[in-house]
């Protein structure tokens, strides 16, 4: 809703509709949590509409959650890397 609202206010024209398989078209969305954090940081108008403080809090929480996840060594790493690298 926030994205759509900004579109109405800024009168943003969309691309033409597609009837192709959109999965084959170029990727445009972040595909990791880290990339998503960077995308949020790059859009001040969006941060403003969500609330400056909320955006800082949310990004801070997500950065911390990512770090917590990254500390975990998975069974995949033990299985495939332990004796091979």
């Amino acid at each position: 809703m926030a994205c759509g609202y900004l579109g109405i206010k800024e009168k943003i024209e969309p691309t033409p509709p597609t009837d192709q398989n959109a999965r084959d078209l170029e990727k445009a969305l972040p595909h990791t949590l880290e990339e998503a954090l960077i995308c949020l940081d790059q859009e001040p108008a969006f941060k403003k509409i969500m609330g400056e403080q909320l955006s800082i809090a949310y990004a801070g929480i997500k950065a911390q959650e990512y770090e917590t996840f990254f500390r975990v060594i998975s069974s995949w790493e033990r299985e495939y890397l332990l004796l091979n690298v």
Binding site: Y5, G7, A28, Q64, E65
Partner: protein, 348 residues
């Protein structure tokens, strides 16, 4: 003193409510709050929570020191909880008559607390109201039923239904596969009725014991509240039926992911008509701009749609999750899909 509306007072009395759960949806969409005897709640002494509940991570940790310091009052002060009486409903699984009431968070100065997710939604809805518009939302919530998993080191397994066998084949839209869990879904509907949740359709999704529940369309705040209450109820119902319900985006590596689709449209507050359509089936300028906004800002909003590391395991080729922001008419492969619909139901 916290004001309690007349309607809420009489509702509490009529239903002989013994306890009140004062709920606040946190950053993860889970319930925080306090459980209070009804007589105390009615005294209107108010309920408080520390501001810091909105800064906790899903693992119970905290963001970096400087973030915390920048956002939390140096005295680590309390927020005041304000009951939204329109959200009061029964807790069907409680032994004593218990009510759950969603609360807004208000700071010492009397304004909605900027870190409460409900405040954010309120402020965005207000922007639309100020522009003479009202967003209409219909959520579709996907989830898995899985065998109870008490040791997190083991992968999840599909649950055993009435047949005594776990589900194997892909059962998209299968009625019989839903019936495997009949007692569970009977209870889900009973509870939903007691809680006055506007559940619409229940279908079996493509994963093993993966389900989808659709909600009727309505204003955005009521839909957010109902999804919050539903997830809480569904986890409870599953547990009572000896399985788990999980809303995790990608719980099993060889099964499809779960999502929440959001049908969205906007009505003109003056005329009551859907402003995405000119009434004759033609898409309007406002519709185009709304799509344009979704295309431009969705990458920035992704962190809200995909809030966890696990969410991104779902954005893989062919897993009916979008990797871009193209839009299309009845094009299921596009991230922004405009279903075939009559003018009044024109939606994204």
């Amino acid at each position: 003193m916290a004001e309690i509306s007349k309607e809420l007072r009489s509702w509490i009395k009529e239903n002989k409510i013994d306890e009140i759960e004062a709920l606040v949806p946190d950053m993860t969409g889970k319930a925080r709050g306090k459980i209070i005897p009804a007589y105390r709640f009615l005294k209107g002494e108010g309920v408080r929570l520390p501001e810091a509940v909105f800064l906790q991570t899903v693992t119970g940790g905290w963001p970096a020191e400087e973030v915390y310091r920048a956002l939390v009052h140096p005295s680590d002060r309390d927020m005041f909880l304000k009951a939204d009486s329109t959200t009061a409903c029964l807790v069907p699984w409680a032994d004593e008559p218990t009510a759950q009431i969603i609360h807004d968070c208000v700071n010492a100065e009397g304004s909605f607390h900027p870190l409460a997710p409900r405040t954010v939604l309120r402020s965005i809805v207000q922007l639309f109201t100020d522009a003479g518009m009202q967003p209409i939302i219909a959520p579709e919530v996907e989830f898995y039923l899985v065998e109870k998993n008490t040791d997190a080191d083991y992968p999840l397994r599909p649950p055993v239904g009435r047949s005594g066998r776990p589900e194997r084949a892909r059962q998209s839209y299968s009625i019989d596969a839903v019936n495997e869990f009949d007692p569970l879904f009977e209870e889900m509907y009973d509870f939903a009725e007691l809680m006055q949740l506007d559940l619409d359709t229940l279908i079996h999704e493509s994963g093993a014991a993966q389900m989808e529940v659709n909600f009727e369309h309505a204003d955005a705040l009521s839909r957010a509240d109902q999804v919050f209450l539903f997830k809480r109820m569904m986890r409870e119902v599953a547990m009572r039926n000896n399985v788990f319900a999980t809303f995790l985006a990608k719980p099993m590596e060889n099964e499809p992911g779960s999502a929440m689709h959001i049908h969205q449209s906007i009505i003109d507050l003056k005329t009551g008509h859907n402003i995405f359509d000119d009434g004759g089936g033609e898409l309007t300028e406002t519709f185009r701009h709304y799509i344009g906004g979704l295309q431009k800002y969705t990458p920035a909003a992704m962190i809200f749609y995909g809030p966890y590391v696990n969410s991104y395991r779902r954005f893989v080729y062919g897993d009916s999750a979008p990797t871009n922001v193209h839009w299309g008419l009845d094009n299921r492969t596009a991230g922004l899909r405009v279903p075939v619909s009559a003018s009044e139901n024109r939606r994204i």
